[in-house]
Amino acid sequence: MLAGVLLLIFLPPLVAKDLCKDSQDGFKVRLSIKTGLGDDAYEWNESEMFLFRSTLAYAMRKHSNQDTYTIDNILVCNDTQRVSFVFVVTSTDDPDQLIPKEQVELAVRQNKHRINNAFLLSDMTLEFMGIPPTLSAPIIYDTEPWLIVFGVVIGAVAVGIVALLMSTVSKKRRAKEKAAGLSEEDEGIVKENGTALSSLGRKEGVYNQAFSNDDRFTKL
């Protein structure tokens, strides 16, 4: 009787270990706490393991929509110094039956970011061997940033070119006006000493009365 009771007490853990060690449905988990957190790294102990098992139970609950998963459904073995171990998930109905690998994988993938956050780690530092991390969606911009920079540069250059061309055109126009203005003044007035006579604006010139037309036929 006593032997039977003892067997009953010790069998589950032994069986559990067998379930975990030999199973094909287990996943190896690896945590790199010191790499991920540096100085803020926490010690890996039984409590952390407890947290891990409970988050996995949570993941299974969410995935299967059954509230029956408990921490006893998550079995862990092969605990190493690395902080790596193997876990398996037992079915809620039958403790000897394991949940198939694919189901567990789906559950983990769906809730990976919650599991990561529970441990303050990332996909790189909390690895489930065999479950590839879902890549984040590529950022889709409305306008690519490089087009914006290009627009700024080409806008500035275009403004500069237009400004330079306008300044050339206005310079030429001013030079043409000056040349035209000067040439008008040239035609009208016979320049003698310059300033005094140019204001007269007479075309024929100045009549010099010292030389009069009466004496055209000089007496020889």
């Binding site: 010191k34 690395r82 790596s84 890549l135 920079v149 330079l164």
Partner: protein, 616 residues
Amino acid sequence: MDTASIASSAQERPKWDNKVQYLLTCIGFAVGLGNVWRFPYLCQIYGGGAFLIPYLIALVFEGLPLLYLELAIGQSLRKGSIGVWHSISPLLGGVGVASMIISLLVGLFYNTILAWVLWYFFHSFQEPLPWSVCPINENRTGYVQECVDSTPVNYFWYRQTLNITPDIEESGTLQWWLVVCLASAWSIVYICFIRGIETIGKAVYVTATFPYLVLTIFLVRALTLPGATDGLRYLFTPDWTLLMDPQVWLDAATQIFFSLSLAFGGLIAFSSYNPKKNDCERDTLVVGLINSATSLYASIPIFAILGFKATSNFNSCINSNILDLTNAFDIGETNITMENYESWLTYLNTTDPDKVSGLNLKHCELQNFLDQSASGTGLAFIVFTEAVIEMPGSQVWAVLFFIMLFSLGLSSMFGNLEGVLTPLLDLHLVPKWMPKELFTGLICVMNFLVALIFTLGSGNYWLEIFNSYVGSIPLLVIAFCEIIGVVCFYGMNRFSDDIESMTGRRPNLFWRVCWMGISPIMLLVVLVAYVVVQVQKHPTYPAWNPKYEKFPESEVKPYSSWVFAICVLLSTVPVLSIPIVAVYRLIRRQTRQQTGSSLPNPYDNQAFSTESFKTL
């Protein structure tokens, strides 16, 4: 001032606002991308400090005399390259034509490199930098295969920038983003070049000085990076045995020659706008020495950063090995460090050698990473961009680096375009009604349209062809003809008189000995050696082929015959103008002597003719 003198002042030769503009323009033309990405590479592969010896010898005996020659003849004859050589001797007019053609061809591909720099500059404002991560493939299961096989930096350069085809025969299509960048590059060049030296002179205040500022900033930053001293030690450790190799001397001579941008006609054009009484000997020394000093100055931050990159790569290599070991043997996380890696490895190898060898650990050696040198576009767009990712504040460094490259290249472009514009203006080939702005605009538009071939999928291969075949042998030939032309056709005495009238003293013995003896001989030897080396090398090119079995190594492919024919044409057609023009003038001279002189008879007084004598 009446209308007549206004017209004549418009025809007056433009001139520099002040001496500083002229010097900055010449320095900007000489100091280009090659100072940053070619000289440090040569220094590294040719035994560091030892390379400086052939380099300085080439500078003193080949570079400076040729530079002085070009600046002096431009200043005294006051014309662009075609006019100058025609004045020296009509038989040599072809030298100027050849210079002009070379300037045109080099300007085409050089600005395409600037377009690539602009593309990287536009992308440097993104977080994270686009060349630091691989893009995700279409069904979001992983990264793009081509990127995973090579590196994100390589992928960004070859696929997202160039979209390169695996073969030069496959042209691919025009890559619209490169066309856009090329258009921006040509617009920026146009705005600086719009009025010739008037606007260039203002632009060089920025483009010629900015690179020095950036190099200094990089110097300060680079020297504080870990691994910088390894890089610098590697660069400057002299290996004197390499001086026995003639290839080193050849490369030193060609480097100084191309670095000073001789034989393009640009320097002649710039100095033709100088006042007549200008000390061009001092200008020569200033430009030549600053150019070489810049090369040395630039190699320090470049190599410090490359040393940093080698150290980072070495560290990641060791760390990935450590991770593999830690994971395989389930050892505690930080138990294996860089310091005790070796002892752990030996311990694990003794306890479980099979498992260790099964891990395929990478062989990490710092020397291997330091040996991964690159020059040219490989340095700027692959090696340096990879280094920038590791530096904190990557965007800032990337932006600074690409602006620096752009201003270095832009100031060299000015020289190329002036080498084209000035001869055309001097030959009065510009119609009178066309304003200068329109003419420079036309030049830029036509260059842009022809340069579209470099935006095709195979554009990079064509650019390498242009770079190797146009920018090398023809320049050496032109330079040789230049020096022979001045020494033999113009005469050393006449040239010395010109220099005396410009600088106030005759050129001293050193210059005369160089011009008449050392430099032509050196040039001839370099030219012959270069041709011999080129002929011996089978013309091949490295192609980026993702389907190659040894990808990401480049597949070395030979040029097909029509491509090789184009290479030969590119080397020979520009210099063909020299003999063609010479022969043409000789024939003209012969025919003129036969039919009598067409020159007017100075004794022919047309007021007194024999007919009027008869009527009396």
